[in-house]
């Protein structure tokens, strides 16, 4: 069509609205990232009083800013544990659910129902049970369990999406070529599903890394990072808090970039570059 079309007025309204939304989304975060580089004498608000890495180093001095190093280590370890459990069980469950078996529907709904349960109550309940059976709550026990109630159903749903595009004929071909069940899983099923597994791992890791309500009453004596940050907002009155925000964001970004990057590399190797 040669005729030049004028954009309707609604375009400008929606575009301005979207701009406002983006500002609202990223503006505050950007302010925090910038303020984390505040000079040593600077405060919690603009203007910047010089530029330094002072508050990043301050983070690791426990007495001033709370136990950042400890909670950061706990959160990363917990996130890794959650990730490993989520990937392992989601893959096994996903493969099992391809065939209908007795009670499969009931089990599926039971697994997914924990997504809609309020996290705080779940946390409360798990904390209670641990007290009843007289086992101390801890981040690697009760908190791990509490977080899995959240990440496993997610992982399972992602596996359903991944497996819906996985043809059974790959497994049949492998068996036809003499592979045992273990070899079929090892050499065919898992490698083909690998990009999907990375997606499940990424979800498991990030959901755990910033989980708050399910961890709150199950974490035991040592805080995870989100709980520590929450505690710090009431006690810390220095830009160290902002430095913490910057560090945690960088960790999340690194996790996402590593995952998406490795998926892209795998797909590229499998010749997606040759498809139109």
């Amino acid at each position: 069509m040669a005729q030049h079309r004028k954009r309707p007025w609604t375009f400008y309204v929606l575009a301005s609205f979207f701009t406002l939304f983006v500002l609202f989304l990223y503006g505050p975060m950007l302010a925090i990232y910038i303020l984390s580089f505040q000079g040593p004498t600077g405060g919690l608000t603009f203007p910047m009083n010089g530029v330094s890495l002072y508050w990043f180093t301050a983070l690791f001095e426990q007495q001033r800013t709370g136990d950042f190093a400890g909670s950061f280590t706990r959160s990363i370890l917990l996130a890794l544990l959650v990730m490993i459990c989520t990937v392992t069980f989601s893959v096994m469950a996903g493969l099992a659910f391809r065939r209908r078996f007795f009670g499969s529907t009931a089990i599926f709904y039971m697994a997914v129902a924990s997504l809609v349960m309020p996290g705080l109550f779940l946390s409360l309940g798990i904390g209670l049970i641990f007290r009843v059976i007289d086992v101390p709550t801890n981040w690697f026990a009760s908190a791990l369990g509490a977080q899995l109630t959240w990440t496993l159903p997610f992982g399972l749903l992602i596996m359903f999406a991944v497996l819906s595009r996985f043809s059974r004929s790959y497994e049949e071909a492998a068996r036809d070529l003499g592979a045992t069940n273990r070899q079929t899983l090892q050499y065919v099923v898992l490698p083909i599903l690998f990009p999907g597994l990375i997606a499940v791992a990424l979800f498991g890791f990030t959901l755990s890394y910033d989980e708050f309500p399910r961890t709150l009453l199950t974490v035991g004596p040592g805080n995870t990072l989100p709980l520590e940050i929450y505690a710090m907002t009431t006690t810390v009155t220095s830009p160290a808090l902002y430095a913490l925000g910057t560090v945690t964001t960088v960790v999340s970004f690194v996790a996402i970039i590593l995952s998406l990057g490795s998926i892209a590399i795998i797909q590229w190797r499998r010749g997606v570059r040759f498809r139109k």
């Binding site: 043809s167 004929s169 790959y170 049949e172 071909a173 492998a174 068996r175 036809d176 070529l177 003499g178 592979a179 045992t180 070899q183 050499y187 065919v188 490698p191 083909i192 690998f194 795998i266 190797r269 499998r270 010749g271 997606v272 040759f274 498809r275």
Partner: protein, 382 residues
Amino acid sequence: MAQVGGVELANVTKRFGDTLAIDRVSLIVPPGTYCCLLGPSGCGKTTLLRMIAGHEAPTSGDVRIDGQSVVDLPPAKRGTAMMFQSYALFPHLTCLDNVAFNLKVRGVAKAARRKQAHEMLERVQMDSFADRVPAELSGGQQQRIALARSLITNPKVLLLDEPLSALDEFLRLQMRGNLRQMQKEFGITFVHVTHTQMEAIAVADLVVVMDHGKIDQADSARGVFDTPRTTYVARFIGGQNVLGGKVVRVESGAALLEDARGNRFTVPAGDTAPTAGETRYLSIRRDRIEMEKLADPSAARGDAVNSVVGKVWMTEYQGSWVKVSITLPDGEEFVANIDDGTFFANPVREGDTVSARWSAAAVHSLEHRESGFDTSRVGMHA
């Protein structure tokens, strides 16, 4: 080398829940045969193939390969190899590793299995693609890799599930010749599932025409084309005009039939003696019809035996022949494939009234059996 890979199905039945997929099928495929299982989709041909491969277990009956029952053996222990419909090449492995997969799971050392896989790739002229992954190959190239991957297991029987359906027309013709050549070269049995009549007739020594979980006819390619056993086979394979009529008279080994419009045909008596009043069916090949334009349509009264009169509704030039479609007064379609020289010496046009004749010797007697499937749309030259 003695030929191997005889396949025998003995009274094989397969049910999926309440659905009867295969109904007491018995078949003998001699060693070194190129066999095609042919039928419309849903006729059970793929299920039959998967039961030979061991990816499906028969509900009852026996599957034997070279005389030995294999129903209790896993796919890899049967001496069969299967080529899947979309090839199922492993997308994460190079062509070389795909072909070497069987050797790898059997524990053959890396250098030895690579050497063997390279040799197999050479046999299918794909060695220059060894380091590519399947997504980088065309459909025809993927098929050769799949073939190499199957053949490296030294199968006695190669099972091919619609091996040409993913290819375009040009490649299909080329690859089917290629498959036939490979089968001769390796001297093993091929069982090839297809729904394309021409494909089966072109490559197979033994064509097995299936319908509704049963075998209608297992015969040579020429046998199913030239002497179909039933009305279903004649219509499904195509290239035939199928007619029916009531027996009026029986004389010297032939019966005289009359259809509802008063047309009269002779049909050889066949195995069972015809009795007056019963309905008999016959087929005449489309290329055994002589056609004549009637100058005065009103005078047209097919008095002559072995002829019909109708209106031409379509002529289709096919190169060496012309397909003339004639509508009979009762709406039935009758097709004459006329040699191009004969046609253009005396051409007819759409709307002309013609009389189509054939000799009594061209008539073939059929058993009556119809399919629930619509066979009118799957005629070979349609």
